[in-house]
Subunit: 200 residues, 2 copies
DNA sequence: TTGACATACGGAGACCTCTCCGCTTAATAT
DNA sequence: ATATTAAGCGGAGAGGTCTCCGTATGTCAA
């Protein structure tokens, strides 16, 4: 019996562990707010949370993971927004809907940029936009693929749509986005227009 | 007199400095070869070169710069290849030439991937493909812009071409390229085809 | 309750990046 | 030859990431 239960509920978080997790989140939030994500070290966070570095790293292998945990809720809300938008615009053509999604996406990454990239200096660092292979990337990708497929009337996972979706997402990765904004000097709207004329 | 000469020849490299530079390059090359770029630290390089860390950092602010210096010659040769290709294919349509350039470019980044990204874990790290804003990126960009302009018969620096060139280059950035190859499982040729159908 | 034990803790420490600054030395003018 | 001096050197050290492992403590079965 016990083994089965354990297997199912896959381990309960210990009380002290849960408390420490809270302390970490609070400490990180405070320090990030005050100094900016880049300027805060894992050490500082551990100190502020009054735990040892080992305890911090046991939970978050690097600052990126911690950041991701910190914005988990925003991400959930973001996808709810997307879902709602898609529902309310079902009758619009796919290209229009994709543009609409980008319009929601861009302010989001602008607002959460620091946390999304999460201090990229790290040995066990991550590849690709928004440390790709994370849920955010994959879910956005899936949505984009569906819309591209719909545009070309292809059956669902068309290789071409998969590729285009990858390209679109990398094009609005944090780095690329801020490059266009800060170096090329485009406004968010201009970026959006360019994206559409290139990819849609 | 002396001041004028100094101003003109803008400083001569001191003999000991030149020697150390050589030692660094040799040491780095050896260690990179043996352990892989990522696994070699600046400290190790300094030790192998028998110089202090300060001396190493005085010349190269980070591993990326050192890597770039290490492949400077390959980059020059690469652009000579491009130039020659463009010369020999002047009569071909612009899209064909762009594809040809990608065909030269892809093996190049495949071969030099490690050195081009140059151990990305670094505080003063770099943005964008091939630590963008470096000569390689800018020159490739310029070439792509010209070809895009030619395709659309636009006068030279058309905003649209500039954007498309940025997107194309980011699409074949190391990260993106190896993502397509290793995660999506495409062969270089397939990637090339997809790139063309998306961007050209 | 009380073991038993999986989980979690914490800090010492290995190794890293990068800076600072007093000392050294090559190049030049005299 | 010698003095001057700017360029270069090197290593101590501040502060970071991340690991390892002996110790402590929740949790659960009995």
């Amino acid at each position: 019996m016990p083994e089965e239960i354990k297997a199912i509920q896959s381990r309960v978080e210990r009380r002290d562990a849960a408390e420490n997790r809270q302390r970490i989140l609070v400490a990180a939030h405070k320090l990030f707010e005050q100094y900016g994500v880049d300027q805060v070290s894992m050490n500082q966070i551990a100190a502020e949370a009054q735990i040892g570095p080992g305890t911090l790293y046991r939970r978050y292998a690097n600052k990126g993971e911690l950041c991701l945990d910190l914005i988990k809720d925003s991400v959930v809300r973001f996808f709810e927004d997307i879902e709602q938008y898609l529902l309310q615009n079902q009758q619009e053509p796919a290209d229009h809907r994709l543009k609409g999604i980008l319009k929601i996406f861009m302010p989001f990454i602008e607002k959460k940029a620091q946390l999304l990239t999460g201090g990229k200096g790290s040995a066990s660092a991550q590849r690709l936009p928004y440390q790709s292979q994370n849920p955010l990337y994959n879910k956005m990708h899936q949505i984009a693929v569906e819309l591209f497929d719909e545009m070309t009337a292809a059956d669902h996972p068309s290789p071409n749509s998969i590729f285009k979706a990858d390209m679109l997402l990398i094009a609005i990765s944090i780095d690329s986005y801020f490059y266009q904004r800060d170096v090329r000097g485009y406004s968010p709207d201009e970026i959006l227009e360019h994206l559409c004329s290139t990819f849609i």
